[in-house]
Structure formats: C-alpha cells, structure tokens
C-alpha cells in the first residue's frame, strides 16, 4: 500500500464571494458606522447599559466605540446546541460556522388554504399543521409558523402559535413575540418541556427571533426582548429585514454595512447582559423593486446579499440567519420553483446556519406549506452538492473500470450495487420515461406536491400524543393566564 503525503482534500466544495480585503472593508465600514453614525435605541434601560459599558449616548442615539464592539465579539459562543424536546439526537441543531439548517419563516398575514388552495387569513389551526408537516419533512431542520394567527385574542398570536407548534413537532422551533410578556410565556412553555430552568439552560429547545428596524434603529420591544433572552440564556436571532434602495443603500456593500451595524446593537446588548449567550444575526436582505414598490423575495440580489452577509457574519464569529426558498409569485408556478432553486442552492453554498422563509410566497405576504414541501426536495438536491465529491481508491474504482473494460457495462457490478445507493432519490422530481409519465396521469410537479402535502396532513400524526400530560397542562395554564392578562390590560 502506497502511503500518501502532503495531500489535501476539498472535502466539501469551496464557495466564496468576498475576498479577505473586501471583508475587512465591510467590517471597517461597520465599525465606523457604529462609532460615528451610531444607532437609535428606544429603550432607556438599554441606553444606560451601553453608557455604562463606555458608549457615548446622546438622546436616543448611541455611539459604540471599537472596544465595546470587539469585547462583545470576543464573548459570543463558537458552538451552541439546540435540542429537540423528545431527545431525538438526529434532530439536534449544532450552531457553528458553515453548518446549515433550513426552515420556514415567521408571520405572513395570509396562508394558502390546504383544501381550497385559495389565499386566506392565517388561522390558529395552521400553526399546528405547519409544525406537523415540517416534522415529517427530512430537510426542515427547524420550524417557524409561516403565519401570524388571526383568530385568537388580539396580542396572543405569538403565544398560541408556540403552544400549538411545540406540541406538534419535536424539530426545534424558532419563536417570536410582540413584547417581553409573550416572550416570557413562550419561555415558560419551553422550560416546562425541558423540565425546568436549569435543564433548559443545559439543553435549550427553541430559538427566539427578534428584529431591529432598518436603518439603525432598535425599537423598545426589540431590544427589550433581546435583553430578556440574554438574561434567560435563550439562543436568539437579532436581525433586520433590510430593503436595498429603501431602508438601506441601493449598493450591496452599503446594505451589508448597515445590516451588520444594526444587528450588532443586539449582539452588544446580549453580551453585556450575559456574556457567552448565543446570538444570531443576518436577516432578510433584498431590494425594493422600484416599478412596483415591492420588497422582492425572488430577486437574485436576495441570494447574493444573503450569501455575502453570511461570509461577513461568520467573519465576525457569529452565526447567520439567512433567507431562501421564497418567491414573489402569488400562486405556485415555475417562477416559484426557479426562485426557490436559486436561493436555496446559494444559501447552501454559503453555509448559513438558519435559512428561513422556505414557504414564503407573494413577496413574504403569504405562507404556503406546499412551497415548503417543494423546497424540501430542492434542499435535498442542494445537499448533494454540499457533500462534494469523495476521491478515494474505492470511489476512483480503477478495478471496476478495468474489469468492465471498454464497451462493457456496470449494471451488475458489486461496486455499482454498493454505490448507487448514494445517488439522490427524489420524491417529487419525476424521472419516468415519457410513456410511463403519461400512463401515471401526466402529472405536473405541482400535482405531486399537492398529493404529498395532503397525504402528510391526513396521515402523519406527529408527536402530539408523546407530549407529557403534565407539560400539556402547564401549556394550557400558561395560555389561560395570558388570556387573563390580556383581559385585564383592556
């Protein structure tokens, strides 16, 4: 056996948008912006916190000196784990550089009705449906609701959503809330499921999502929730929806500078409160279509900006919350597929940690679980490229090539039997011959997606029955108390 020396493998593909010098420029741009332009923070307590840390505060405006930023970046965790509540290790999330998980997104007002396929308001029952379907999909690594519940007490959509989703999927959830109170309700449920405060800290079972407002504004609730999550060691996202040409510059580099800067406010706050707590930044990065004044979810710029921001965020030592699998279409068609295919493959190559919005249609205004199911297949295909090409004596196959010889075939070789199992087996992509396809009813991919989704909705039960009774009761109690609180506030 010949031994090999000085041999380096590209174990998985290399992809890069920004050079080191370019990253440096954008990073320096962020440092300058935070120091000299500053950010508005609509939260007195937070401003006090920043001031104490050495920031200059002038009215709402906070100016962050380099040492405050660099100190925060020095305490963020390198690896954080999030656990499924039933202990299934295969669904564990490891948050570290270049490791990707895909999922849906939060809060569109509308939903595509699974029965009628028409667009309507998002309802409470949709949250558990989304959770259950995602629980069954192999490529959904985490779950968001794809909507904002319209048929519960005003102000409690966030809490009901989490209560229902938690009981219908073991895949870790990314939650959101209106205010700190919702945040607390949600956390109590997470803690109940984990088996206590300490157990949660050791094995957090959800991630919280919050967002600043572009450009460079942290409103009261955003930073208030950020502080709550830091205090309770809840892994959290603090990321804007930056609109190129609207709320941030139309040039991509400028957009990246602003997006990084405003997220950094949350990073600094979280690390000042609780050094080492997990904070994820990134967000939706796209452009304003000037003809229709629509924030585009299908533009190639979304893919490019998201991948570039991923490089920047990883450069800062932070995990990335990215965007893909979404579209500007109103009704599923080829446009949905091509836009999702581009953004998913781009996000996969960038190695973003959480890639959200699988199932967003109508430029983020309508959640569509059918789109999520389509995205699941596209993600599976992108994973094939992510895995790269293995080069070894076994895969080079010189002996099998020799044994088959010129003009032969490989169909019955052991080597073929061993390795063809690694070929990607699609569930929605049709590879029939034309004749068999016709025999099977000349179905389009959309037909197959609808069939598969409805089959999951009807037949996949999810983990609802596995939820411990005690936890179930606790969740109901929390919901009741939230109702009481809302009543009293009125």
């Amino acid at each position: 056996m010949i031994s090999r020396t000085n041999y380096t493998e590209q174990e998985t593909p290399h992809f890069e948008i920004l050079s080191d010098n370019q990253k440096e420029r954008i990073f320096n741009g962020m440092m300058r912006t935070l120091q000299y332009t500053g950010a508005n923070v609509h939260h007195e307590g937070a401003r006090e916190l920043f001031k104490k840390a050495g920031c200059k505060v002038d009215g709402l405006r906070v100016y962050f000196p380099p040492e405050v930023i660099l100190n925060a970046l020095s305490t963020v965790p390198v690896v954080t784990e999030v656990f499924p509540w039933d202990g299934d290790e295969s669904k564990k999330i490891t948050i570290e550089k270049k490791r990707s998980y895909f999922g849906p997104g939060p809060t569109p007002p509308n939903f595509i009705d699974p029965e009628t396929l028409e667009r309507r308001k998002y309802l409470r029952r949709d949250a558990s449906l989304v959770a259950r379907v995602c629980d069954a999909l192999p490529n959904m690594g985490y779950v968001q609701s794809l909507g904002s519940i319209s048929d519960v007490t005003n102000g409690l959509a966030d809490v009901y959503e989490f209560a229902d989703m938690l009981r219908n999927t073991t895949t870790p959830i990314m939650s959101w809330s209106f205010t700190r109170e919702g945040c607390r309700d949600i956390h109590r449920m997470g803690v109940a499921m984990a088996g206590g405060e300490e157990a949660f800290r050791a094995r957090p079972n959800y991630v919280f999502y919050g967002e600043p407002i572009s450009p460079l504004v942290s409103d009261f609730h955003a930073i208030d929730k950020c502080i709550y999550c830091a205090e309770n060691r809840i892994p959290q996202v603090y990321s804007p929806c930056a609109i190129g040409g609207g709320t941030v510059p139309a040039s991509h580099a400028g957009q990246l500078v602003v997006a990084l800067s405003e997220s950094m406010v949350g990073v600094i706050a979280s690390q000042l409160i609780s050094p080492g707590t997990c904070v994820i930044i990134g967000g939706v990065q796209s452009i304003l279509d000037m003809r229709f004044s629509v924030y585009s979810y299908g533009a190639p710029e979304l893919s490019l900006l998201s991948a570039a921001l991923t490089e920047m965020v990883h450069h800062c030592g932070l995990p990335m919350y990215s965007t893909a699998g979404c579209t500007d279409t109103k009704k599923m068609d080829m446009q949905s597929a091509m836009e999702a295919s581009l953004s998913i493959n781009a996000a996969m190559m960038s190695g973003a940690n959480f890639v959200h919005d699988c199932g967003y249609t109508e430029s983020g205004l309508t959640g569509d679980i059918f789109q999520t199911v389509m995205d699941d297949e596209i993600i599976g295909m992108a994973r094939v490229v992510e895995r790269g090409v293995e080069v070894s004596d076994e895969t080079l196959g010189l002996d099998v090539i020799h044994n088959v010889g010129p003009g032969g075939h490989y169909l019955y070789e052991d080597h073929t039997m061993t390795h063809f199992r690694n070929h990607y087996m699609p569930t929605l992509m049709d590879r029939n011959s034309y004749e068999s396809w016709k025999e099977e009813g000349s179905k389009t991919m959309k037909d197959r997606i609808i069939e598969k989704t409805r089959d999951l909705i009807e037949n996949y039960e999810g983990p609802r029955a596995k939820v411990p009774e005690k936890v179930d009761a606790e969740i109901e109690k929390i919901l009741q108390e939230a109702e009481e609180r809302q009543k009293n506030q009125k």
Binding site: R25, L304, A340, A346, I401, H415
Partner: protein, 482 residues
C-alpha cells in the same frame, strides 16, 4: 487608495482540491495504460501502432508520457465568430458562454400541444429565438431535422435551418466524417474561404465516444478530420453513472477523462495543435426508472468537478446546464434547470450546453428556451459578486441618512438600482395588480413572450448568393446518398 488589495470581481467556487484533481488525472492515466480503449478505425489504429502505444486488434493502450506530451499542444483559447464574422465568442479560462443542446427527436406542437417528431421548421424557430435572446452565446440545433430527405444527410439540412435564422457561433453534430466535411465546407463558404474560417471558425464540431472507453468509426473519422483541418472540436463523453460508468462520481470522472485523453493523444498523433475541447454530460442512470437523468443534482456536482479538472489541465470545457427530466414545463423543470445553470456558472465552465432541454433530452420546447433566458440572467447577476469600492460602501451616505431615515429619494439610490437585475418574465407586482392583470402564471408569460419573438423577431437574413452556394453543397450530398 490602499496598497495590497485583492478584490473578488466575481463569485469563486471549486469542488476539488488540486491534490484531488491530480489523483483523478493519475487514475485516468492508469486506465489508459492498464485498461485501454477500443478504436474502430483503421487509420487511427495505424497512427497508434506507429507510436509508443500498444495495439492488439482494436484494443489500444497508451503509456502516460504520450498523454503528457499531447497535452502540451492543446490551445487555451478558441475564438468563434458567427456568420458575417459578427458576434465573436472568446472561449478561454473563466469565461462562461451558454447555448442550447442538439438533436431532440420530439417536440410539443405549438398548435395542437401534441408530441410529434421535430422538423426543419422547429430548428428554424429555435435558431431564431437563440438569435434574439441575449443570454445565449452559441447555438446547437435544439431539435433534429427529421423531415430531411435522407437520414444520411440530415446534418447539412439542420445546419442550414440554423444558419438561416441565427447569426451566433454554433456547435454542430454531424452524421459522420463526410458529413462533417460538408459542414466545414459550408462554414468556409459562410466565412469567406478556408483560411478565413481557420481564423474565424464559425462552429465547433461535437463528437462523442461511447462509454465506457469505446471509439466508433464515425467518431474517429470526425476527430481525424478536425485534426487535419484544425477545426475546433470537442470530444464529450456522456457516461451514465451506474450503467456505462462507475456508480461513484470520482470513478465516472476518471473514466470520462480517460476517454477524452485517448482522443487527445490520437489527434496529437494525427497533427499537433488541434483545437480540441474536453467536456461531457456526466450524470447518472436512475436505477428505479432506468432513465438517464438530466435533472439529477449529481449532474451539477460532477460537471462542476469536471470543470475543475479541465482548468487544471489547461483545457477548455464543454459542460451541461439548464436541463431537466420534467416532461413538460412545470415547477420541476424550473427548479432543475436553475440548479444546473447555477453550478455551471459558478464552476466557470466555458461552454454550457443543453440549456432548455426537457424530458431527459428527448423533447424540444421553445418555451423552455425563453424561460432559461431569464434564469441565465439571474445566475449571471448572482455571479457578479459584491462591489466594495468607496462609492458602493456608501459610508458617508449612511451617516447622512442616519438612523430611522430612508434611501428611496437619494441620488445614490437612483444611480445604483440600475445595477440590479431587471426581470423580463418574473412577476413582482402586488397581489391586486397581478389579479387585475389576469392572474397570469409564469408559463402564460413565457408563452406570450415566445409567440411575440416568433412573430416579430426577424434575424439578419442570409446573403442570397451565399444561400445558393450552401444549398448546392447540400444538393450534392443528397445526390451522393440518393
């Protein structure tokens, strides 16, 4: 200014490390010396016999040094020129050009919607679309001219159908050596003589071996003709992993490279310096359905890896993208075509063909060509990367606008939003506008655009005298084969 700045002007992507590429290359050399290949052509066998190769019957084995010597003589640049020497295409490292595929036997009839044999008019229409659509850089026939008087001469008619409606450079398939010679003759007429053609080649000859490791008579005829005339050519294996190549991607690449290198040695023996391009459709056989998959993610991955190998070998690369297994234009078609376009572009393959293929490369769709125009535009936009100069960083503007401000009304926005991709077919209107405009799907818009182009776009016509001369070549061929 800042000293010592390295800036990415495009995205960067690679699948294999240099060490891995070398290992695949060394493995291919081993295949050539140990396993060898079959050659079914007397002159070629003669050439090998007169060299250091070992020939037994039709079986040829080649020692590594012959390959290494041959590799020194292949050009790293080929410039193609469309008819009238317009629209040049520089094929060189890190440039990506897109084109259709060729010879699809079936077409969905645009009137009846029924699937039928592809005819002259269909190729004519594809040529017209490719001429009109800016993201296509070269034309392959798309369909096969099945209504030619004789299957032995269909390639000349097909070329004519392409030439009539397209002024872009081409990649041509041919029936055999004689067919290629006629195509070359026609090309010389178009470019103004043999010498002019040599400097301004109109097309690349598409030639393929039979995997595994077999070179039939017609393929070798074409290769030797190309070598003799210094006609740009490509030798592109179409291995199906698991059937005609190992089920592993690395193994498929080894075999495919060995097939290419065998042709490289042969052309070198015939006449050093042939402008020969490497390439292929490297994908798998779907074991459940027994179909050759044009939509498999493995096609994207293997093609990108193959492109890495081509760059390391200093060879030009003919790759594959924009194709699908979907039988019709649906979500699958869009998703698969986009994926393979994306990786072909990232990898930097020089010529990306099969754009618009549907149904495993058996069915032609003009609508698919139009859809891919948009997708290529998106992929190219992505590939531009991020400009990080002072103006694009916009730090002063960020300070001026400040927290809570807006950018819609600033001059900077007005200057820069034009850098964004401007969709022609993607719908970005709001729900109400979309509904008011008839709730159209992408397919509706693609059909409209296709009809519009076919009805309105008229490419620069062929010179009448030239057309007569070309038809004369075809007439002679038809007579010979009558």
């Amino acid at each position: 200014m800042k000293i010592n700045q390295m800036i990415n002007r495009s995205t960067k992507f690679r699948v294999l490390s240099e060490d891995q590429i070398e290992r695949i290359y060394f493995a291919a050399l081993e295949v050539l010396e140990r396993t060898g290949g079959m050659i079914y052509h007397d002159e070629a066998l003669e050439l090998f016999r007169d060299s250091h190769a070992v020939v037994k019957g039709n079986h040829v084995r080649v020692p590594p040094y012959m390959v290494e010597e041959a590799l020194n003589f292949y050009p790293r640049k080929i410039t193609l020129k469309g008819r009238n020497k317009q629209r040049s295409l520089h094929i060189q490292k890190n440039t990506v050009a897109y084109g259709t595929g060729s010879d699809l036997p079936f077409t969905y009839d645009r009137e009846t919607g029924e699937r039928r044999r592809t005819v002259y008019q269909d190729v004519n229409n594809a040529a017209r679309l490719v001429d009109a659509l800016s993201n296509y850089d070269f034309l392959m026939s798309h369909g096969i001219v099945s209504d030619a008087p004789n299957p032995q001469t269909y390639d000349r008619h097909q070329f004519m159908a392409m030439l009539e409606k397209c002024t872009k450079p081409m990649v041509l398939t041919s029936v055999d050596g004689e067919g290629l010679e006629d195509l070359w003759r026609m090309g010389c007429l178009v470019q103004g003589g043999e010498e002019e053609f040599r400097l301004n080649p109109l097309f690349v000859a598409y030639i393929e071996p039979i995997s595994p490791l077999k070179n039939d008579r017609t393929a070798v005829e074409k290769l030797l003709f190309a070598a003799e005339k210094k006609l740009p050519a490509m030798y592109t294996p179409c291995p199906s992993s698991g059937a005609t190549a190992p089920a592993t991607i690395a193994g498929m690449l080894v075999q495919s490279l060995a097939e290419t290198l065998m042709a490289m040695v042969l052309c070198h023996l015939k006449s050093p310096g042939t402008p020969l391009i490497m390439g292929g459709v490297t994908t798998l056989l779907d074991m459940k359905k027994s179909t050759y998959s044009y939509g498999a993610p493995e096609l994207s991955l293997a093609s990108a890896a193959n492109t890495d190998i081509s760059k390391w070998l200093n060879l030009l690369m003919f790759s594959t993208g924009g194709c699908t297994d979907a039988k019709i234009m649906d979500e699958q078609a869009a998703a698969e075509q986009m994926m393979s376009l994306f990786y072909a572009h990232l990898s930097g393959a020089n010529l990306v063909h099969d754009v618009g293929y549907i149904d495993h490369g058996t069915n032609a769709s003009l609508e698919s060509l139009v859809l891919n125009q948009e997708m290529m535009g998106m992929v190219k936009q992505f590939g531009k990367g991020i400009n990080t100069d002072k103006d694009h960083l916009a730090l002063d503007l960020i300070e001026k606008v400040g927290p809570g401000g807006e950018y819609v009304t600033s001059d900077h926005t007005f200057d820069h939003w034009k850098e964004w991709f401007m969709p022609q077919l993607q719908d970005r209107s709001d729900y109400e506008t979309w509904k008011a405009n008839g709730s159209k799907t992408m397919l509706d818009r693609v059909k409209e655009k296709t009809n519009q182009l076919l009805n309105e776009y008229e490419p620069q016509p062929l010179d009448e005298k030239l057309e007569g001369e070309l038809r004369e070549v075809i007439r002679h061929a038809d007579e010979r084969h009558a």
